[in-house]
């Protein structure tokens, strides 16, 4: 395995009786990158990450973390990795500082505890008991705890699940900072925005299989819809005018909006010119960028939200 590869997964499978949670997946994670596993709950993200954390045994296949075999070198992997589990929880009656010291002790590590507290912006809360922290602060403490052994590799399992938008952005900022420090981050998420903002590469996992793996930009460009121009409160007459330019347009009778599928050949100004020259009225204009949500929809036929609610 190359030194540039932090994780190497080969044909990994995990079965629970009849259920195949992870179905023969293979991928690599490069050192220093943020790699996101994106998929709905139950897709196999957590099972995969827990196999890599040496918490579960795979049914078949191989995996190496930092060059160590997950089946043979579990202690070596544990010493060198940091883990933020889903909904980090610990001794309720230890303070923030004591919690960090506790886990540092478990790794026989001697980190600068105050520096870690500063890093996760918990200086004002350092003497607060864990049970009195909000969800967002608990997750930030969990990230500090994951860093006590100065790991080369971080596993963050749904790091911002259940947090309010402000707390979520705080966690994203932290993860981005770790990336800048050169840490390799493997994160699982079912928030496409999280993957899109943070990840260098995204693996989309569905029903235990990786159905796409690339940078967010490439995934969107390859599997996403085109960027959309939405003309609010216009008339059906706009559609033939736009189609004359050789691009797709669709009228929604309920909203009175026309959605135009943009491509590189025709600019927005040409569309507007075509409309104004024939006096087709319209309200406001809206530009909609294609996202990983669209990628997931195109690849699976269902949206991330629908998939979750069906589970």
């Amino acid at each position: 395995m190359s030194n540039d590869v932090a994780i190497d997964v080969q044909e990994l499978t995990k079965r629970y009786g009849e259920l195949v949670a992870v179905n023969g997946i293979s991928f690599t994670v490069n050192r220093g990158e943020i790699f996101a596993f994106l998929g709905p709950n139950g897709a196999g993200k957590t099972t995969t990450v827990e196999i890599l954390e040496c918490l579960r045994k795979p049914t078949s296949g191989k995996a190496y973390v930092l060059g160590f075999d997950i089946g043979k070198n579990q202690r070596e992997i544990k010493k060198r990795t940091g883990v933020l589990p889903q909904d980090f929880y610990t001794y309720e009656r230890l303070t923030v500082k004591e919690t960090i010291q506790y886990y540092a002790g478990m790794f026989d590590a001697h980190p600068d505890v105050d520096e870690l507290i500063r890093l996760v912006d918990l200086e004002e809360k350092k003497n607060d008991l864990f049970k009195n922290l909000s969800g967002g602060l608990k997750q930030r403490l969990g990230i500090a705890v994951a860093l006590v052994n100065d790991p080369d590799m971080l596993f963050l399992d749904e790091p911002s699940a259940g947090l309010d938008p402000k707390a979520r952005h705080g966690v994203w900022h932290l993860i981005d900072g770790l990336h800048k420090k050169g840490k390799t981050v493997f994160l699982t998420t079912h928030y496409m925005e999280e993957a899109e903002i943070l990840a260098d590469r995204v693996g989309i996992i569905h029903n235990g299989r990786i159905i796409a793996l690339d940078s967010p930009e490439n995934l969107i460009s390859e599997h996403g819809t085109k960027n959309l121009l939405i003309l609010k409160k216009t008339s059906p007459q706009a559609v033939p005018n736009i189609q004359k330019l050789g691009i797709k347009a669709r009228y929604d009778g309920t909203t009175g909006d026309v959605t135009v599928h943009l491509n590189h050949a025709v600019g927005v100004s040409e569309i507007l010119h075509a409309l104004s020259s024939t006096d087709v009225p319209f309200g406001e204009l809206q530009l909609k960028r294609s996202s990983l949500e669209d990628v997931f929809l195109n690849l699976t036929g269902v949206s991330l939200g629908e998939e979750e609610s069906s589970i």
Binding site: V83, Y89, Y91, R93, G105, D108
Partner: protein, 371 residues
Amino acid sequence: MSHVAIDLKASLKSFWRNKSTIFWTLAFPTVLILLFGAIFSQSSMRYDLYVQNQDLTDGEPTYWSNNFITALNSTNAFNIQTVNATINATDYALTNRLSTLLIIPPGFNTSANTALYTHGATTANVTFVYDQSTSSALVVQSIVISIVDRLNFELSQGVDYLTVQDLTIAPQRFGYIDFFVPGVIGMTAMTTSIFTSVSISAQFKKNGIFHKLATTPLRRYEWILSRTIYNVLISYLGMAVMILMGIGIFGMKMTLDAVSLLMVAMASLMFTGLGMIIARFVKDPDGADAAANVITFPMMFLSGTFFQLSQMPQFLQTIARVLPLTYVSEGLRAAMIFGQTQQAIYNTALITVLGIASIVIGSLITKWEED
């Protein structure tokens, strides 16, 4: 080993900061001791006084012996129990574990009359047999003496016509509190260890703390060792409080030796293991408490914690013989109260073997993470 110390420190800190846990850990046995101690140890206002009147004429009490018994009765301090005049009173007191017995000897009436005629040149004596190790006996003795003094005053303005001869008996007598406290110490070691390990295991599983710990180099046996030491320390804390209360409030008589300390530690080990075995089969903290109750309550009441096994029906005694807490309670009593060292060592050895077995099984089946 440092991992064990770190986890133990965290557990003790958590215990210390959880005032309700401290309260309930110590309150239950404290309330039991106060309640049962008060019910069974506190002497009532009336004391049992066994009286053997050997001074009879044609089976009837003589004048002076009858007067003396009437004087005893008039105080309302005694429930007077009559002992057959023909038996050996001292043996009777020993056999029946009586703390006091008054013997009016044959010829008491004659002696009293002689004392009157001689103005105290001779005296009439009664014998007060008592167990000096019981506090109530001393109270009874002082009342009897005051009655004799009063009679002397009425008869002679203070010349001793009647005297009380003391005869002490010191059988192996123990009060209820002496019996009870070692039982509650054993019971507390059980409840503390089982409930702590069951509920901590269930909570750590539910909250994902096991999951997080499993990602660190902490080994499972290190965590189990830490929890076991924690349970031993908490059991010792309970033991200290109960002994102080037993001695301070109820005048309990006991010795604290290495065997009894070892017994409490081994009992904690055994019940920690048992708690872990229970925890393996429960899914959530609520179920864990219920399961722990199912195990601890029958043991609490059937293992001779509150009452002597011999007072229970035979079939319950048979059940008690297979319950480990029985051997803990009996071992602690043997060590702390009765001074039966061999019995104490035997029971402690038995509990040590069971303790090692249960902690090994508990450790093997405890899982931090699913397959």
